[in-house]
Structure formats: structure tokens, C-alpha cells
Symmetry: C3
Subunit: 138 residues, 3 copies
């Protein structure tokens, strides 16, 4: 049994879903992981993680539009020192995931056929987001 | 230290919460797991996982009704090629969990007294949902 | 490779976010964990876990107010035997997290600069909440 750490940097260009499934697969291949548990941790409170459909891009557009409606920028927020998109960003992060674990078997992530792993950026300005990855297994 | 994998198949008959706590307990008993971390991963983007109260069935009915209100079938979605229940299904999955881990100690899941583990089906049609289970420990 | 369990008790005095990052750091220091995966599991269905900003207290106030609006006490719920704050508590727990895992590297939690770990109490009355902690690694 062994473990390993990796840091994945994801450049973002405004609000939206950025897939990084391939970055994870590349790390698995490079390290020759066979079986274990792969964990991802988003080190930010205004971006988050989401597993979603990676076939029809309309799904991502609808998801983004939904979170705009459910946590709008013009909500009755007290916290506004960092701009109107900051407090809704914290809310959207709270409603989605900061952490995800995915089993790895025979060298493959056990994702379903249509599942992709996404960084969900909630801020308007470009950022470089960091996801800490951890693997434990063989 | 050892690890093991298991696939749990859950037949669904339309939207709602389907408890599968006993399937997990059966696997723990069969494999004689004593202490470790048990992870569950839902391999779908229109169904999800939820830990909720397993005492009063009204709680499940209220939860299902709440998600109908918050992500209705007649929302302003672009993606509708797979039916009016598909895009709300992706939204409800995003708002709940694709993955859960539960510690196991002395052969028992460390669930609270009233907690059950549920597959949350978001589609109208019957499906067979697959949850990948992984255990690491002793 | 080793593992360890710990139970963290968190007294609450009504709805709100209660940070317990330091309790986790104390456990890591006491047990001299160096590298591994630390998992937290909330053993309740009317309280939950959340990683959020720990700088400006307005963020927590806005988060709490948001969940009051999105899952109000006077919603059309069937389940009301345990008081008007019980069913919204289950909904708010469903929308946030029951479980979180955080990688630990060189003895430190891999949290971002502004991230804190919170118990999100959803009931009005004081409670003692129990979070089961599990570590696997070295």
C-alpha cells in the first residue's frame, strides 16, 4: 500500500465549468496507480468541484444559468467588499462540492460513461485554481 | 491494510429516495471488514447519493417535493433532448452528492442513529443505478 | 500505513456555523500524523459540514441568511412533528455536506489560506453534535 500527492493547477477565464478529468487520468497513468481511492480537494471558497455530464455542452450552460438564478449577484448580501460576484460565489461553492473521492480500479477511474470532473469557477475575473489530489492504494 | 471493491445495483421505479444501507452492511459482514473507510460513488449524472433521516417517511416525501420546487421540470432549460426531467435531474444531482465516505469501526458503519444511505433517483423512467463501493482498512 | 479514529463533540447554541478547524489540527498534532487522508463524518441529519471562508464573519451571516431564504421554516412541509425548524434542517443538510475528506501533507491539512471547517447547525435548540474523524496514512 502506498500514497501520493499531486497539485493540479486550473486556469479559469471567468464563471463556468472547466473539465480536468484528463489531468487526473494523466497522473494515474504517469504514477502507474492500479487500485485505490483518488481524492480531490479544491483549496478555494469561491470555486468548487462538480461531477457532471460531459456530452452535451448545453448541460453545463444550463447548470451555470441555474446557479446564477438561485444565487444571483444582486441578492441581499452584507458581504460585498470583494465585489458583487464574491458572496454568490461562496454560496454556490456551499451548494456544490469542495471535495470528491473516486475509486480507481485496474488503472481506471470508476467514472460512469458520461461523467466528467469539473472545476466550477464562480468569480468573474480570471484565476489560477489549485486542486490538491491524493491517492492511496496500490 | 487491505482494500476491496464492490458494485451495488439499485433498481429504481421513478423519482424518489431508495435506501440501500443494508446492502452496504451486508458487504461489510460478508467481507468481515473491521476498521477503515468505506466510499460510495454514484456512476450517473441524473441520480445521486444522500444521507438522510430513515425514521419518518414524510421526510423523504418533503425532500423529494422540495427538489421538485427548487429545480422544476418546466424551468428555462436549453438542454431538453432527453425529456423535461433530464436537465432538472442534472441540477438535483449537482445540489446533492455523487460521492460519500463513511468510517467503519469494529465492523459497524459510523452512521448516526437516524441516518440511512439513499440513492436519489431524479428521472421518471425506471433505471438500474450502479454505485461503486470501495473499502480500505482492515 | 496506519489508521486512527476520533470523535469530535461540538456544542451548538442555535442555528449557525461553528468552526472546528483547530480541533482537527490538535488531533493531527497529538497523533503526529504526517501524510494521509483525513475524513470527517457528521452523525446527524439536521446538522451538516461545510468548508467556507474564515476571514469575514459577514460571509457566515450571509450564508446562514441564504439558507433561511432557500429553505424557510414556513415551507409547505408535511413533516412537522419535531417543530417548524426540523424539516428545513433536513433540507439544508441535504444541500450541504455530511462528509468531507481533506488531505494531510507534512503534518498540515491541505486547506487553502481562507478555508475553515465548519459544523452547520440547522436547529434552533442547543445540541451537542458529534463528528466522527478518521485518518489513514502515516
Amino acid at each position: 500500500m502506498r500514497q501520493a500527492f499531486h497539485s493540479i493547477s486550473i486556469p479559469t477565464r471567468g464563471k463556468g465549468l472547466y473539465e480536468f478529468t484528463q489531468d487526473i487520468r494523466d497522473w494515474i497513468a504517469r504514477e502507474r496507480f492500479s487500485d485505490g481511492l483518488l481524492s480531490l480537494f479544491c483549496r478555494h471558497t469561491s470555486a468548487s468541484l462538480l461531477i457532471s455530464e460531459n456530452a452535451d455542452p448545453d448541460v453545463r450552460a444550463d447548470l451555470a444559468a441555474y446557479f446564477e438564478r438561485i444565487a444571483p449577484e444582486d441578492g441581499p448580501y452584507v458581504h460585498d467588499a470583494e465585489g458583487p460576484d464574491d458572496m454568490p460565489a461562496h454560496i454556490r461553492a456551499a451548494l456544490t462540492q469542495t471535495h470528491l473521492s473516486i475509486p480507481v480500479q485496474n488503472g481506471a477511474l470508476l467514472l460512469g460513461t458520461w461523467q466528467g470532473v469539473y472545476l466550477f469557477e464562480h468569480r468573474r475575473a480570471p484565476h489560477t485554481r489549485e486542486v490538491a489530489a491524493h491517492f492511496i492504494g496500490e
